[in-house]
Every structure is written in C-alpha cells, then in structure tokens.
C-alpha cells in the first residue's frame, strides 16, 4: 500500500499498518513526543496501536517542541 508521511511517499507490502508500526519503521525516537494526524484527523495517543493506516492515507507527524526560553 501507499501512504504519504509528511508529504513524502512511502510504500508498504501490507494492506494495513498500525500507527505504532509506522512510528517504528519511521524510526521516530520518542513516539510520546509526536502527535499523529491521519487524513486531517488528529489521533488520540492512546489509540495509536489500534488505528490502522490504509492505502492512500495521508499521515503527518507533528513533533512536540517545548522550548522557548
């Protein structure tokens, strides 16, 4: 299947993929510091394992940045 992650095309040899797996494949170091948006819907962090990505989904990783001082 084909999904886009932050605008980049990604291909996977599977028909569905949990968000948690995508975070691993994408080598996101600290999944707790990422908010995930799928097709414009921001997913609750507790539902990452249960949310399956499908062909043509558009995924955005929104990274928490807490600095400012």
């Amino acid at each position: 299947m084909h999904i886009t992650v932050n605008g980049e095309n990604k291909e996977f040899d599977t028909s569905s993929l949990p968000i948690t797996t995508l975070l691993e494949v994408a080598k996101v170091e600290s999944p707790d510091m990422v908010s995930v948006q799928v097709n414009g819907k921001v997913i609750d962090r507790t539902l990452y394992a249960d949310t399956l990505l499908r062909d043509n989904d558009e995924v955005d990783f929104l990274y928490f940045m807490g600095g400012g001082a």
């Binding site: 600290s30 707790d32 908010s35 921001v42 955005d60 807490g66």
Partner: protein
C-alpha cells in the same frame, strides 16, 4: 486620512517610514500598530526578539510576563538581555531595551508566573498574545485561556535546530490542542542535559512570531492559521502541515470537556 496623518509627529513618520511605504501597512496600518496591545509570555529566547521587534515596530502597548532573573546561560540566545543585566528581573531588563529602541511605546512588565488562577484576567487586557514559554504546561494553559477569552495568539516552540509556530484565531482556526491534544508525558520531554538549542533558532522562530503579530494587527497577508510551520535549520528545510479544527477538541470542539483551567505538572526545561 489627512487628519490621521497629523497624529504622528515628524519623527514618528520618519521612524516608521519603511512600514508606511508598504502598501499592506501604510499610515492606517501604523496607526493600528500604535493603538494595539500585545502580551508577550516569556522574556526568553522567543520573547526577546519578539519584544525588540514589536517595540521597534511601534506596537503601542506591550505587556511582558516572566518571573525569572537574567542568568549567564541565557545570553547565548536571549538577545534583549546583556551581560551587565545578570541578576536583574528579565521583564525589567527587556523593558529597558524596548524603551531604549522606542521611547514612544508603553511597556508593562509583569514579574510573575502565569497560572490557572491569574491568566484569564491578565490576557483579557490584550488584543493578541505571543506565547514563548519554555514548557508544555504553560503552552497548553495559554492555549486554553486564549480560546476561553477569544484572544488570537501565536504559539511557538524550539528544540535543538528545529522550530515550529502556529497562529490561532479562536473560533475560526485550529488551536494548539487540536494539533497536540494533551501535554506529552513529563518523563518523555527531553531533559535539560539532553537537549539544547542553537541560539539563532530562537531568533528565527521569534521573528516569525513577531511577523505574525504585525500581520494580524495590520491585516497584511495571510496568517499561520490552520497551519503548523516547522523548520529544521540544519538543512534549512521549512515545512507546513495543514491543520483543521477537531470536532472532539477538549477546548474548542463541539462539546468542550475543559470548562475550568488547571495547572499541569511543571516540567520546565531551561532551553
């Protein structure tokens, strides 16, 4: 128009001439800036450039909130504080520089912490808020309070070589909670010893926030509403993610679950 022209002195017309020359600002825009009230939250890495640029731009009344004193480790990036200000209250140090740049403006130093009990009363006096704190509890508190009070604001964050900003017009555009829902678990937030920030990143993000403020006041251009702008300065990659209001947002959704403000556990990392 002619009548309004004479509201500015000759010196002010000269001071703001590069604004007045801009078709999207002009005398009308400069008048709006002069009568605007902006609150800056944090007189640190982001707040410092915001304070200097808004003062220089002639924003008439600028409040600045911070409860810290200037330390030597701040000086690598907090450009409104100087070596001889070490030990001084940051809001006072910032006020001095802002008034030195532009004596015509009014600066209101607020040497205090923003908490659930005082924030709504403080922000109510302002047309626009710039959030430049160094911690998630404050970022979420500012978001929720500004949504409750319907005050537009810019919110920013920096980390290492990265920065991000979004502008929020409550009731119209996605809020910080629409994008991030809840603060991350405190133990996941990078510790002070692990993190760090390139000094100029604070300037890059702070000036983006200052520009958003000036655009909001003058009505020039389009804002970073429904948009998260991120950059990675290592490669100078800039990226925009489109956002939308979330129906189930806890503060600006259809049935908000947050009705009163609460203080989250503080996990400040001094970056």
């Amino acid at each position: 128009m002619v009548k309004k022209m004479i509201d500015f002195t000759e010196e002010q017309l000269e001071r703001y001439s590069r604004h007045i020359l801009l078709a999207d600002v002009g005398v009308e825009g400069q008048i709006r800036l002069s009568s605007a009230r902006v609150l800056i939250i944090g007189a640190g890495g982001l707040g410092a450039p915001v304070a200097l640029y808004l003062a220089a731009a002639g924003v008439g009344t600028i409040g600045i909130v911070d409860n810290d004193i200037v330390e030597v480790s701040n000086l690598q990036r907090q450009v409104c504080h100087f070596h001889n200000n070490i030990g001084k209250a940051k809001v006072e140090s910032a006020r001095e520089k802002m008034k030195a740049i532009n004596p015509d403006i009014t600066v209101i130093p607020l040497e205090k912490y923003l908490v659930a009990d005082n924030i709504r009363e403080i922000i109510r006096d302002y047309d626009f808020v710039v959030e430049g704190s160094d911690n998630f509890p404050t970022k979420f508190l500012v978001n929720d309070a500004c949504v409750m009070e319907s005050i537009p604001f810019s919110i920013g964050g920096i980390l290492r070589f990265d920065g991000q900003a979004m502008t929020i017009v409550p009731g119209e555009s996605a809020c910080y909670r629409c994008a991030f829902r809840n603060p991350p678990p405190p133990d996941a937030v990078p510790s002070c010893s692990e993190a760090g920030v390139l000094g100029a990143i604070a300037g890059m993000l702070g000036t983006i926030q200052a520009a958003e403020t000036l655009k909001f006041i003058t009505g020039a251009g389009s804002l970073l509403t429904d948009t998260l702008l991120s950059f990675d300065a290592k490669n100078m990659d800039f990226h925009k993610v489109r956002l939308q209001r979330q129906d189930d947002c806890a503060i600006c959704g259809k049935e908000p679950s947050i009705r009163t403000l609460v203080d989250y556990e503080q996990t400040t990392c001094g970056i």
